[in-house]
Subunit: 115 residues, 2 copies
DNA sequence: TGAGATATGTCCCAAAGGGGACATATTGTA
DNA sequence: TACAATATGTCCCCTTTGGGACATATCTCA
């Protein structure tokens, strides 16, 4: 846990989200559209202003593939290797479970604070 | 990361949520109504079927108080000590930041998957 | 009076995880 | 031709975290 400072509250949350639920964040991104490691790093950097370490990402992608949450659709080449990942039905289930929990959680928040 | 098995997906998510965002989960519970450590443990066990270790919770509560996210309202006694916590305005900001991120995140999910 | 529930405190060891470094190869561009 | 960007792989050390244990005190009920 880091010090909470007014404006950086949200930034802090996003960072923790990516630190602790990186696998699910990745699944979400890949679900949106098939993509590859390097692009995921660029995407997250651009959208969330967060720097993912490739040293953490690539092993994770291989891991998710081993668990059959992702599948490597093709290796688009040109002399250069590129692993394009696609989400599996099992992967989608994980994303759905996550989203449902969040939905239930927020639902409660709303009923408590009066819509 | 643990193996994802169909039915236990959601359970798994809840556990990770409490493991990784325990502070915010606690802030939420306290925001709902002022309460104390022992009751939080019972509450979480009952509602989520998750066992919080008091060895982790009590230091965290003291920590949240030191950071002024919680304040100890009173020590209701009877010879026995009980620390009743209340959320602070700073604590509420953290909860709001968290909820807003989740809201934005789910919003995107919905627009992507069609409403 | 003795056991179980209530209530909180603190500490330590082992496991996990992340940051950073080391490594390699191709493509484009100045 | 040389550097920056693209693209992925792997490893290690250090910090963080959790689980479990040790500790204490009161209250209630059988």
């Amino acid at each position: 846990m880091v010090a909470y400072v007014s404006d950086s509250f949200k930034k802090e949350i996003v960072q923790r989200m990516f630190r602790n639920f990186l696998d699910i964040m990745i699944l979400n991104i890949v679900q949106d559209e098939p993509t590859w490691g390097y692009q995921i790093i660029k995407h997250v950097e651009e959208k969330y202003d967060i720097r993912l370490r490739h040293g953490a990402l690539y092993p994770l992608l291989n891991n998710l593939e081993r668990k059959q949450l992702l599948k490597r659709r093709k290796e688009a080449k040109g002399g250069r290797v590129r692993k394009v990942y696609e989400i599996t039905s099992k992967g989608i289930q994980v994303v759905i479970a996550f989203n449902e929990f969040l939905q239930d959680y927020l639902q409660e928040q709303n009923t408590k604070t009066g819509i």
